[in-house]
């Protein structure tokens, strides 16, 4: 504190005095942090562990990306190499859509292990995505994976709390708080100075991860599905989000330190909060969300679709809807018999049935996603109190690994399926003159293979407004709490 005493003698103006005090507090805090070997070791541990997690994630991503690119090529060959067959039979064979690996998933894999990676685009049916990797990860995987996001969300706050819990109680216990206040340092200045120094620590933690991740993104080199600049901006926004998240913990630590009787009491309260935030709150709110917005079981979901589909005729020529449709077509073309139609009736029938199916699938799949969204909304709502509930969806959204990113993929895949269906039905309508009509590779080649462009950052922004609001509220709440706490700071 000698520096502070000297500085106080040199005060000229009020603002210069304030900045001198702040810089003195920051220098002192940083020096103390640097001298605390345990703290340095813990910070290094967090950074190294996160870097290792990023490296593991990056290797895994590259492998998956290679696998999926190869699979897409192989599937394209299978599609074009079908030989001559009826176009509708080709539509039944269908194509596969493989979800490109989001580059930033090496930081935050999000829901990736719990969603399918590929979807079969076949005639008449919108299929669900298949192959959740969590199924192959076994029981250890259920206790949590090692990702940089997970470390920043659970372990990094612990470091910040351990640094900050003694901020005021420690000064009081050492007797330095009385000296400081007697020098005319305002409690709020002390608070801001300490908070700024903790923010420097946060930046020191986050910066190497951002730099390393930026290099990893640049070397990921998938410009077909993702834009490099978009991914870099996403990375920076993610980093800002984590800075906000951890800043809130710094203020929380400071606030508790100011109101607690002693360091022990501050530590116990903060650790209890950390445990509840990291482990209890996400599970508890998930259990509540599940009963708040229940989702159908797979059987209920598929039965509901089947029930609606039963109202359409499909391939059933005895169905009342089919008879109506046939009459409608005959009337439209002003003919008495199907054989007299200038176009192929079976093609028209497939087309109409597909159109009816699209509406049914849209209705059910969007309702399902809606119930997921309602659950996610409820999970994020207490994020201003338990910030892990805000940072998790925020981080996933910008990493492109949340359930909405998955939904965007399934919508694009479904649009592609519909494109295939429409193309083959049109081909039958216009060219098939009898039941033994077959088409060849020229048609298969004309129908493009599935391509996916990841939505831009605006998509993530648009869908994480609640999380952003909650994250900002968390920081605001903790700042207010800390400011209120230091107002009645007891020097002894």
């Amino acid at each position: 504190m000698s520096q502070l005493v000297l500085n106080s003698n040199l005060i000229k103006s009020n603002s210069a005095r304030r900045s001198n005090i702040l810089s003195a507090i920051i220098t002192k805090e940083l020096r103390e942090m640097y001298r605390d070997r345990r703290l340095v070791a813990l910070s290094l541990f967090i950074v190294i562990l996160s870097l290792a997690a990023i490296l593991f994630g990056f290797t895994e991503n590259s492998r998956l990306a290679r696998e999926r690119v190869a699979a897409a090529k192989a599937d394209q060959l299978l599609w074009t190499g079908q030989g001559a067959k009826n176009p509708h039979a080709a539509a039944h064979f269908g194509q596969y859509a493989f979800k490109p690996v989001s580059p930033l998933s090496f930081i935050d894999p999000g829901v990736n292990p719990y969603v399918g990676t590929s979807v079969w685009l076949e005639a008449h049916k919108q299929n669900e995505t298949q192959f959740r990797s969590a199924r192959d990860k076994g029981l250890a995987g259920r206790l949590g994976g090692l990702s940089a996001a997970y470390i920043l969300q659970t372990i990094a706050p612990l470091l910040i709390l351990l640094v900050s819990f003694m901020s005021f109680t420690g000064e009081r216990e050492n007797g330095t708080l009385r000296q400081l206040l007697s020098l005319g340092v305002k409690p709020a200045e002390l608070l801001i100075g300490k908070a700024l120094s903790f923010n420097i620590l946060i930046l020191v933690l986050i910066f190497p991860l951002v730099a390393f991740s930026a290099i990893a993104i640049a070397s990921f080199n998938n410009t077909i599905n993702f834009s490099l600049s978009d991914q870099l901006v996403r990375l920076i926004i993610m980093a800002l989000g984590y800075c906000l998240y951890l800043t809130g913990f710094a203020f929380l630590g400071l606030g508790f330190s100011a109101i607690s009787k002693n360091s022990r009491a501050a530590l116990i309260s903060l650790l209890a909060f950390w445990l509840i935030n990291s482990f209890l709150a996400p599970r508890l709110i998930t259990d509540i969300a599940r009963s708040y917005a229940p989702t159908p079981t797979a059987l209920e979901f598929r039965s509901a679709i089947a029930q609606d589909k039963a109202k359409t005729f499909g391939h059933d020529e005895t169905h009342p809807a089919f008879v109506l449709f046939r009459n409608e077509i005959l009337k439209k073309y002003n003919v008495a018999r199907i054989e007299d139609l200038p176009v192929n009736f079976r093609g028209l029938q497939l087309h109409r049935d597909d159109e009816a199916g699209y509406q049914i699938f849209d209705k059910h799949f969007s309702a399902l996603q809606e119930s997921f969204n309602r659950q996610d909304w409820l999970r994020t709502a207490p994020g201003f109190l338990f910030p892990i509930l805000a940072i998790t969806p925020f981080s996933m959204a910008f990493a492109g690994t949340d359930s909405l990113a998955q939904y965007d993929f399934t919508l694009t895949a479904e649009a592609h399926r519909r494109n295939i269906q429409n193309e083959v039905s049109d081909n039958i309508i216009n060219f098939a003159h009898n039941d033994s009509y077959v088409s060849g590779p020229e048609l298969w080649k004309r129908i493009a293979s599935f391509s996916y462009r990841s939505p831009s950052i605006y998509f993530a922004l648009d869908h994480s407004l609640e999380a952003i609001f909650m994250l900002l509220s968390w920081v605001a709440v903790t700042i207010i709490f800390a400011l209120l706490s230091v107002r009645n700071l007891r020097p002894i």
């Binding site: 895994e60 599937d75 829901v111 298949q130 192959d136 029981l139 250890a140 599970r283 079981t297």
Partner: protein, 470 residues
């Protein structure tokens, strides 16, 4: 013994006067009850799914039987396409299917385990496994990511925290308050007194969780009776795991450092054992033994079925060339084509799944080599095994599905290959899924894995506490 009881009695008195202790115990009590309630809701949903699926299956079969009866009577005048014909063994076997299911075990409410990512119900058909083995139950992926509060979570994560919170400063706080010298001097045998104090502190959370679990199981598992041996195994797992943490706290306390050191060290150990080690093992296993590419399996099945399709086309074309007068039976051709492509895919997929299983086995073997590093992971494994939602049970389920798949295929293919039509008798004698594999719960390995480090900690604690000085 009197020193032990004196320590025990006084410590209990002190504890019960502290509001924070009451708060901790009430939290543990509420969480335990809530977790079991949650488990009961989960199991109820699983049971409802099973009965709905069984109802659905019998409705479907009854529909087929009715149509068949009408066909036999001559009531149906239209020409049914082969995929809607209840007599067609190829299409009924591959489209119809029968549900293979995994019934919840009596203690299923105790742990979610793998039950939220593995379906407990799969529709087995004559087709290759890639078409049915990987279907999933619907769940919000964010829910799966967060997890749920089950008793296994309370035991593995929360219980150690409560134990550590009560035990971390047993000696250190007395030393800091200056009462240690007096306490030790008061006893005839100081070590016995310290043990008495430790046991008193440890017993409170352990008894709370065991008694609440017993009460919770009694209240919430009304539809089925928990098996006594399973309950005893659960109790043994809780006791052993709790002992590990109690002894660990005593060992750290015995080092003679201050309370802050104890608290931070124990918290660090808790983070490493319950969070970082399982996650690290998982990441390492996935890195060294990557999960198999299920996409490869699908592609191989598709390639095989396309080849078979082409081959059949050639056969039909050749037949047409050689018998220009014969009228084409499109229905028969469609059935033969489906059978050929299905069988070609089946052979491919069986081979690939065997390879994948081997890959996953390597991964699991690797995890097994490392899991002794985390008593938390071992205890979690033990509880999940007791609940019947663990790896052994799902492996057994997959074996059952395998044998049922063979039975189902044999039944239909025997008829499909000869071109025989299905009859009402056939429908009445459809193979039924039975769960054959039921391995007894074996949690010796995980419990031994917790017991060994506990014993190490006992030795360290004993040495430390014996040297215990004010």
């Amino acid at each position: 013994m009197s020193s032990f009881f004196a320590g025990f009695r006084f410590e209990i008195k002190i504890l019960l006067r502290e509001p924070i202790v009451w708060f901790t115990i009430i939290t543990l009590f509420s969480l335990t009850l809530f977790s079991l309630y949650n488990g009961a809701v989960r199991v109820k949903i699983q049971q409802d799914i099973l009965s709905a699926a069984q109802g659905d299956a019998s409705k479907r079969i009854d529909g087929q039987k009715n149509l068949l009866a009408r066909l036999e009577k001559g009531d149906v005048h239209e020409d049914l396409p082969p995929y809607r014909d209840p007599r067609n063994a190829v299409f009924v076997g591959s489209n119809g299917g029968q549900a293979a299911f995994l019934k919840p075990e009596p203690l299923a409410l105790v742990a979610v385990g793998l039950s939220d990512i593995f379906p407990q119900l799969l529709k087995v058909t004559t087709a290759s496994k890639d078409t049915f083995l990987f279907s999933d139950e619907i769940e919000n992926p964010s829910n799966l990511l967060s997890g749920s509060i089950d008793l296994a979570f309370v035991i593995v994560f929360v219980l150690p925290i409560v134990i550590l919170a009560l035990c971390f400063n047993l000696i250190s706080s007395e030393r800091e308050q200056g009462t240690l010298a007096m306490t030790l001097a008061a006893a005839h045998r100081p070590l016995a007194l310290i043990f008495g104090k430790i046991i008193a502190r440890a017993l409170l959370p352990i008894l709370t969780i065991i008694v609440t679990t017993a009460v919770g199981l009694f209240i919430f598992s009304d539809k089925y009776t928990p098996v006594m041996t399973d309950c005893l195994l659960l109790c043994a797992s809780i006791l052993l795991y709790s002992s590990f943490w109690v002894v660990l706290a005593a060992a750290i306390d015995g080092l003679g450092k201050n309370s802050a050191f104890n608290a931070l060290t124990l918290l660090g150990v808790w983070v490493i054992i319950t969070i970082l080690t399982p996650a690290g093992i998982n990441a390492l296993a996935g890195y060294i033994y990557p999960a198999p590419s299920r996409i490869d399996m699908t592609l191989a099945a598709r390639a095989a079925s396309t080849d078979a399709d082409k081959e059949k086309d050639a056969v039909f074309a050749r037949y047409k060339e050689e018998h220009p007068e014969a009228k084409r039976d499109r229905s028969k051709e469609a059935s033969l084509r489906r059978l050929a492509s299905q069988e070609a895919a089946f052979i491919q997929v069986e081979g690939i799944i065997k390879q994948h299983d081997l890959q996953l086995e390597h991964q699991q073997e690797f995890t097994k080599k490392l899991d002794f590093l985390s008593p938390a992971l071992l205890t979690y494994q033990a509880i999940v095994e007791i609940a019947g939602t663990g790896t052994t049970r799902y492996r057994g389920f997959l074996d059952d599905i395998n044998s049922f798949h063979i039975k189902w295929r044999d039944f239909f293919l025997a008829r499909a290959k000869t071109g025989a039509s299905l009859t009402i008798d056939d429908y009445n004698s459809l193979p039924k899924f039975v769960s054959l594999t039921h391995e007894p719960i074996n949690i010796f390995r995980p419990l031994l894995g917790v017991f060994i480090p506990t014993m190490f900690a006992v030795i360290i604690a004993f040495i430390g506490l014996k040297r215990c000085a004010p």
